[in-house]
Symmetry: D2
Subunit: 153 residues, 4 copies
């Protein structure tokens, strides 16, 4: 179980916190018969944002196939607050939240471009860097501990 301390300082208040913003337009394949975006589709949008955040932190997709070191999702917590629907222009904002010894937490928020005040989705994920095919979790890179010292748990 993750410890989530609401008294912790806001990571976004610190200029060195890596952050990202991506955009998606809701397609048919994102929706279901209920008339709104299917719950699983948001996780694909979040994966795209997370991958760009990882690039920003020094992990390139093209390198991963060579090194076989992959960031692996260990836990996802996602809250569905308001629905999005077909044709909505969504903004996914993500940032690094905290670092542990072998895991790190990332945080996402989705809103409509036309209505930034209304939060549709919030999501936290913890990840580990894993050496495949053995599946061995690695310590987080030493330079992360220095660059993101303010986020160490």
């Amino acid at each position: 179980m993750p410890s989530h301390n609401p008294q912790a300082p806001d990571p976004l208040a610190h200029p060195d916190t890596p952050r990202i913003e991506t955009r998606e337009e809701v397609m048919f394949f994102d929706t279901d018969i209920g008339g709104v975006v299917h719950n699983i589709a948001y996780l694909r949008m979040i994966e795209t944002a997370r991958t760009r955040l990882a690039t920003h932190m020094g992990m390139q997709l093209r390198d991963m196939a060579n090194t076989q070191i992959y960031p692996v999702v260990v836990r996802t917590e996602i809250d569905y607050r308001k629905p999005a629907t077909l044709g909505d222009h969504l903004i996914i904002q993500g940032h690094l939240e905290s670092l542990e010894r072998v895991r790190f937490w990332v945080n996402f928020r989705i809103h409509r471009q036309s209505d930034p005040a209304t939060c549709l989705i919030t999501c936290r994920q913890s990840l580990a860097l894993v050496q495949m095919p053995q599946g061995k979790p690695l310590r987080l890179p030493e330079d992360w501990n220095q660059r993101y010292a303010h986020l160490r748990a």
Copy 2:
């Protein structure tokens, strides 16, 4: 944030708790370049199990398109403990965990058919019954409060 009381009695100990078991064989479309099942694919397997659990509790898929009352996922918490891979035969076990006024919680566990003791995935989801297209959450059915009184929060 959900309250999850570890001292609560085990819902599976009570014979009236609705429960379900489904099976999946891991297909190519479930895997990714890391060589194991992609994190999003498990949520599709869990949706299939959840839908059968809902049928068991009296919600038929065929009715939903008519009544436009849909069970909507409000929150997902999923922990990825061990990876599954191509061709694995997986068992998804699910049960109703608790009832609130407008939300209910369901709980899932995934293991390999060949190794029931090793848990790969645990997942909790809360859902609400929502009248579409207005998106209005409804009170849970009165008969649930009676049939599943032992699960009332």
Copy 3:
């Protein structure tokens, strides 16, 4: 069965032919254990390009939910020529190919941004405009017959 006349004039040679270009970076969820992009993932990329082409031709996603007139895929033909892999930057090019009375054909080609000469994927799809929920196919809009007269079959 579609008639595909290789002697037909190239639709791209005519300036009034609607055309589109979209970009995708290959994500983990696009790949499978074979180490390359899964065959179904390209169809999601093509749907995004097709939707933008439709917008260009006057069909707005936001309108569809109101009118309940949806472009429905009637047939897909897709050839997988060369594989793409994780982190590839792909360009999807699409254009209107021909108009029939109730169907129209669109055509797509995918290549890597770094290598436009190497075609990875070619795809043709025919679509109809369908009034839901009855599922009734409609005649194509009269103004298409005028604007795209050079593409009438």
Copy 4:
């Protein structure tokens, strides 16, 4: 372009033609806002049927991860004849259609369990066996040429 000879004898008339039948219940994640099954979802159902057909022909999913020889889709042709919707019980029937030197063709048909006479989907796919990660296509197994001699092109 595939040659598809409508005068060819029906592969299903021969007792040695490998064939398969799988079942799917339409889930929320299979549908879209149009109220019916999304066009891409059928291809996932067909992949499951195709994988079971491959098992029947001697290709085990568990072996593929070891040998790194994968059946790769080279071409898909799919016709969407009638829509399926949420809760429908679908039957996917597939069989081997023909063998070439490095490619083979498989054929699928989807109908509702309650209405076998109404065909919803027809699909043909050609596949090659490919040695990864080089991506080298292999000749089809010699024993296929003997066991399925009646399907040689």
